[in-house]
Structures are given as C-alpha cells and as structure tokens.
C-alpha cells in the first residue's frame, strides 16, 4: 500500500499528489512514469512522474480527471492509500547539452515536462519553456516551470491570462525570433492533438522534436503489446521503447484510433460508477 502524503487541487479537474514510494524515488529519472491501481477491482493506469524526492522517498503525480479511475483518484485525500504503485517504467528522456531547447507543456502536460526542463537546464542547456492551457484556471506550476527553465512563456487558449493563443502560436514566434537553426531540439508534452500540432509545426522548420506518447497500457513492462504504436514504420511498445519518440516519425492517426478503442466501455464504466455512488461523494 502506498500512502498519499500530500494533495493539492489545481483546478476542479487537475490535482497533484505526493505519494510515498521509496523504491520508485530511488532510481527514477525525468521522462519515466508509474502505473497505479487504486483498489482491488481497479484498472492499472499510467501517470508520468512529475517530480521526485529521493531523500523523502516520494513521487509527485499530477493528473487530469478524464474517466472513472482518475475521478476516483481525485476523491482520495492525504492519508489515504493507493493499492499498487509500480515504477519507474519506460526509458528516461535522453538529456544532453545542445544549446537552446524548446520545452513545451500543454494542459496537464506541464507536469511531465517539468522534470525534463529541469534536467535539460542542469545539463547546461538554455531552456525556453512554453506552457499553455485552455483557460487561466487550468494553469498550474508557472512558478516551478519558471525556476526549471531559463526563460518561460505562458499562453491561454481563451486569453484569460497573459495572452491569447495556442502553444504553437508562441512556438512559432520563438522559432522565428531565434532562428530555426539555433534550436536543435524541441520537447512537447500534452494532449495528443497539441503534440500533433507541435509536431506539424516543427516539421516545417526541420526542428527535431520529442513527444511523450500516452498509448493505452495494461502491464507497462512489455508483456501485453497493448501500447504498440508505429514509429517510422516499425511497431514499438510505448511502455518499454518509449514513452519518448521522434514526433515526426509517429503514426498519429493510428495512435489516436487505438487510444479511442475502448471509448464506449470507458463511458459505461463512468456511468456505472456514478450510479453506484449516487453521483459523487
């Protein structure tokens, strides 16, 4: 059992938890993820490691409530226990000194991108952070990102904070201002449509781009093949070969389709759950 030590509510649907998991904290690196299961009947869901504290033996997760498990997790409080919590899984993000690196986080993707920005900066890069959300209330960790990056730009889709525009609008301005030849790498994490848009943009400029793919998963150890995705025409398992991949090689259409395969069942699970607990406790 894994104890929730702290909980922070960023918005009604975005929450942070600090979980006691010393085995994971000991060896995890930026870019890796965990899989958790709340209770005996629960599903195994993957969440990225947003932060870690090796001394305290803790892992920080930030999640958006999108379905049954994340909603149930969101109802749990500090002091509660999560039944299973396994990690670190996946390969760590490759960190090297390249110069200017564009690090983009969209929506809840700000959390997973944070330790990567920090590691890149520690490796001596000039990290240009861009974070964005649909609206001001959904934005979090501006302060942490500011500390992790060399410079930080913020945007909201609806213009309720700082400026109006998508992260891709800001990216374009930065690339034009700095010159595409001066930006050897971009890392973009967020909802699939956002990562795909970033990928399309950087492809035009020829800037190498890494994305963290969120395929459906079961075991997370390379055993089931549920997470397979075509990258550069080859089948890869996101949980062990990734989650980071070259965005320009990813078959986004296939990824999107496979991710939606259980949509009808997911809705049914949420309904079933809502009925059972009378609409929310």
């Amino acid at each position: 059992m894994f104890k929730i030590l702290e909980k922070e509510v960023f918005s009604p649907i975005i929450k942070l938890m600090v979980v006691e998991a010393p085995k994971v904290a000991k060896s995890c690196q930026a870019g890796q993820f965990i899989i958790l299961r709340i209770h005996e009947e629960g599903e195994r869901i993957p969440l990225t490691i947003a932060d870690f504290d090796r001394e305290r033996g803790t892992i920080t997760i930030v999640f958006q409530e999108v379905g049954k498990t994340t909603v149930q997790l969101g109802r749990m409080e500090a002091g509660d226990y999560i039944k299973d919590f396994v990690g670190p899984l996946g390969e760590a993000t490759h960190i090297e000194k390249l110069g200017n690196v564009l690090v983009v986080g969209g929506g809840v993707g700000v959390a997973p991108v944070h330790p990567i920005a920090r590691a890149l900066k520690e490796a001596g890069n000039h990290v240009i952070g861009i974070i964005g959300s649909r609206t001001k209330d959904l934005l979090f960790w501006e302060d942490k990102m500011r500390a992790a990056c060399s410079e930080l730009l913020v945007t909201t889709d609806d213009g309720s904070y700082v400026r109006k525009g998508f992260v891709t609008d800001v990216m374009k301005e930065v690339i034009e201002a700095k010159g595409k030849e001066n930006i050897p790498l971009c890392i973009a994490i967020g909802p699939q449509p956002m990562m795909r848009a970033c990928s399309n943009l950087t492809k035009e400029y020829g800037i190498k781009t890494i994305v963290s793919l969120n395929a459906l998963m079961v075991d997370g150890t390379g055993m089931c093949g549920c997470c397979r995705v075509s990258v550069g025409g080859e089948t890869k398992f996101v949980c062990v070969d990734g989650p980071d991949f070259d965005a320009h090689q990813v078959d986004w259409l296939e990824l999107g389709r496979r991710g939606a395969y259980f949509r009808a069942e997911e809705n049914k699970a949420t309904e079933h759950h809502t009925c059972k607990c009378g609409g929310g406790k």
């Binding site: 085995k23 060896s27 396994v86 150890t221 089948t235 395969y261 069942e265 049914k268 699970a269």
Partner: protein, 473 residues
C-alpha cells in the same frame, strides 16, 4: 518379466471420466470446466494402477514424481500420505494435476496405455492436492536460518519453486514480481476456467508461510538492477525466472488495427484484470461477434475459449498445420471442440483488413497443404497459390508465441544470452555466465510448460544452496 498388462486381475480399460460442466453451459461462464474426482473416483482410478516395478510413468514426468507410490497410498485411502509423497517432488500438484500435458509426459509412458487408457495420473494428482487444500495444508519444517539472502526475480512456477526450496533450506528469500500479484502465467495467462486463481493464490500463501517475502510491483531492471540487488541490496545470489512474456506478432499488414490483441493482452485483461466482471471491475475488454485466434498451442486454445465466454458468436482457431500438429494439450483441444470453437486448419493469415475507422473488418487468409516432412519430421505446410479468401471477423487475437522479456538481460552486466534473447544457463545447474546468478524456466528454454519451469526452479535452488555453502567455507 515385462510390465505388460496381464489378466491376473480385471482391469478397467478406460479412465474414470473427469466430471465436467456441460460444454454448452460452461462455454459461457468462467467457472472451472473440470470439477474434479470424488474420493470414490480417485480411489477407483488409483486401483487401476498395476504398480509396475520399472515405474515407466516416472520417466515421463520432468520432476520424477513418485507416481506408483503416491497412487498406492490413494488406493489405500491414505490421502495425507499420498500428498506428502507427491510433494517430495512436486511443490505445486494442484497446478500440475490440472495443466500438465499428461498425454505427452507421465501418462504417455504408463504401461496400461499400451492396451487400454493409461492411469489418470494427473487427475489423481489433482484430487490429492485439492483434498489437501480443503483440509488445511501442513507446512513443512524450515531449516534454521543460514544468514544468506537470495533474490528471486519473477514469481511464475520457476521462481515460486526455487523460492520454496531455498526457504526450506533456511535461506532468506525475497521474490520480486513486476505485476501486482504473484503467480506469473498461472495468474495472468491460464484462464480461471482451467486453473482457478484461488488455487494459485493458496500456493502463494503457503510459500509466505515458509517465510518467503514477496514484493509485488517490483520490476527488476527498473527500480533496481540485478547488479544493484547484489551490491547494495545485500543479496548473496539471484535466481532469474522472468518467463517468456514478450508477445510475438505475425508482422503482416494491419496488426496494429483496433481489434487486434496479442494473446497476452487478451488473456491479461480477462484473467489478471478480470475484465469478464466489467463494469464491476474497471478494466474493459471489447469483443466482437466473430473472433479469430491465430496459433494452435495452449495459449491459442485459451484465447478461443475465452472469446466464447466473453460473448463472441463465433470463435475460430486459425492454424497453419493440421489437427494432428496442434501443439496444445489434447484435453484443451477436445474441450474447445465441445464448446463450439471452430477450426480453420491449414490456413494462415496474410493481412488484416480495416474498415474506414481503422477497426478490423476481416482477415485475408491463404490455404495450405501438407508437403514433405521437414527436419523435425513434421510435414511442413505449403501455401496453395490462388487460395486467398477473406475471413469475416472483427477481432483478431495473435497467439503465435512469446519470447523472453529483454529487460533483465539488457540491464545485467555480463549475463550471456543467445540470439533469441534467452538467458544461457547450464541445464544441469541453472548457472549463468555471471557468478552467483542462476536462471531457469521459460526465460532460458523459451515458452515451455509449467512443470519444466518448476523443474528448473528446483535445479536452481539446489545449485544456489551449493554455491552459498561453498561461500561459507
């Protein structure tokens, strides 16, 4: 004197049949198919055994269970004695009695089988084990602590057996398991209707009573490498029993479409995650009306029979060779037929076809005929030109085999593997190229059987014990 059946006593020519649920009822539920012998049946079956002096049956058993001896005790009604005798060689009789391919092992060599049906050795074995589980298991004595610590990686039959033997010898054993429950394929692969999960967990509980610690949610190579376990974790030796969990695909077009599962995913969702109880359990599975399962082994049979239970109208086995070559246990093939699984034999898929949304809507296949015998003596199938046709299916389960998961080999310094990625280990000792590190089970042999994995676990335990004793000196 030869051990041929003689007329000195009347021998029943056939085995006592295994009581089972009605095929058409069970094809739609997840309860165990074979319900097990009663005491009377077990004793009666045991009395068919002629107590052959040469014990040919034992040669067929990879762990050399004292077959005539335990059967004699059953015939005498001495069930505790029979269990004790069984367990001298086999730590998981409740599992083996159910899933061993007896027709290719112990029962194949049974003298009675020359003229009649062989003694139902597996069925009697299962009866004994179930009798023990129902009447309270006696935990064997554990030797005084030796002070040595051993890490076992993977909790399949190889790891569990190795851990049990080492614990009995007084070593402190910790089993690290990647998933959230122990048992390996016995939990995630083999379906509930063939091997109830409660039976497996009862065995795991017995192991804990021997003092073995089981750390689930622990992926070795991730939270810690084998080297770190030995250098920082204080483990004096390591046994690797990580199995063959990496699913192979056919590498034909369309394999990443929606509606194509590896057998591992299909069975893991169903067994480990209990998708058949969805939505009371959270993990979903989607199953169409017509399911094709590619392959002809136990895994394929389990997939096809599971598909029916999940509500498919039609479930097909699609296999390249003919019925005679099906590598699955005989009983599973028979059960599959009885339950209504259909067989497209001498048939192989060449492409999976999609609808406009990227979901499976058919599978293009080609027919085969049997050609000349190959090196293995099997007549190898040859494609018939122009025989392509499209099978009308909406779900495809790929069950063509598994390889070893590369995680541990890739992260362990100096661990030798072969071209297929299997760990190289001496079959007689389980020793790998790395001092203090032993391996056994599917990770060494490639996908095999429960009993062979257990045998390898036993060998590993014996060698580790010798290794530790030599360290002491």
């Amino acid at each position: 004197m030869t051990d041929t059946p003689k007329a000195k006593k009347e021998i029943k020519p056939t085995k006592n049949p295994m009581p089972a649920q009605d095929p058409l009822v069970r094809a739609r539920n997840f309860s165990e198919v074979a319900t097990g012998y009663t005491k009377e049946m077990a004793v009666d079956e045991a009395k068919r055994c002629m107590q052959c002096k040469k014990e040919p049956c034992r040669q067929g058993c990879p762990v050399e269970v004292y077959i005539p001896q335990f059967i004699k005790l059953v015939a005498e009604g001495n069930f505790p004695g029979a269990v004790a005798k069984l367990k001298e060689k086999n730590a998981l009789p409740a599992v083996c009695g159910r899933v061993c391919p007896q027709e290719a092992q112990c029962e194949k060599y049974c003298t009675l089988g020359k003229k009649y049906e062989p003694v139902g050795i597996g069925r009697i074995e299962r009866f004994c084990a179930d009798w023990e589980l129902n009447s309270g298991v006696t935990i064997p004595e554990v030797a005084p602590s030796t002070g040595f610590k051993v890490a076992v990686v993977g909790s399949g039959p190889a790891g569990l057996t190795c851990a049990a033997d080492l614990a009995k010898l007084g070593h402190k054993v910790t089993v690290f398991e990647a998933l959230h429950v122990a048992g390996g394929v016995l939990m995630y692969g083999i379906p509930e209707f063939r091997l109830p999960k409660a039976v497996v967990q009862a065995e795991v509980e017995n192991l804990k009573k021997l003092g073995v610690e089981i750390e689930v949610n622990s992926v070795v190579g991730k939270f810690s490498t084998v080297d770190e376990l030995m250098e920082e974790g204080g483990f004096d030796a390591v046994f690797i029993g990580t199995g063959a969990g990496l699913p192979y695909f056919m590498k034909i077009p369309g394999e990443n479409l929606c509606g194509v599962y590896s057998a591992n995913e299909f069975l893991t969702r169903t067994n480990l995650m209990k998708a058949y109880k969805f939505p009371d359990w959270d993990t979903p599975i989607k199953i169409g009306k017509k399911v094709a399962v590619l392959g002809g082994g136990n895994v394929a049979m389990d997939g096809a029979r599971t598909a029916l239970r999940l509500g498919a109208d039609e479930s097909w086995i699609v296999y390249r060779r003919s019925e005679n070559e099906l590598p699955a246990r005989h009983e599973e093939v028979e059960h599959a037929h009885e339950e209504g699984v259909k067989f497209a034999l001498l048939t192989s898929p060449v492409e999976i076809v999609a609808d406009e949304n990227g979901w499976v809507k058919g599978m293009k296949c080609i027919k085969y005929e049997l050609g000349e015998p190959d090196a293995s003596g099997r007549r190898s199938p040859v494609a018939i030109p122009g025989s392509e046709y499209v099978m009308d299916v909406d779900t495809v389960v790929v069950a063509i085999g598994q390889g070893p998961n590369p995680l541990v080999p890739r992260t362990t310094k100096g661990l030798e593997c072969n071209k297929k990625g299997n760990i190289v280990a001496d079959p007689a000792t389980g020793a790998t190229s790395k001092p203090g590190v032993y391996a056994g089970g599917d990770v060494v042999t490639g996908a095999a059987t429960v009993i062979l994995a257990m045998g390898a676990g036993k060998v590993g335990a014996r060698s580790i014990n010798e290794y530790l004793n030599s360290k002491k000196a």
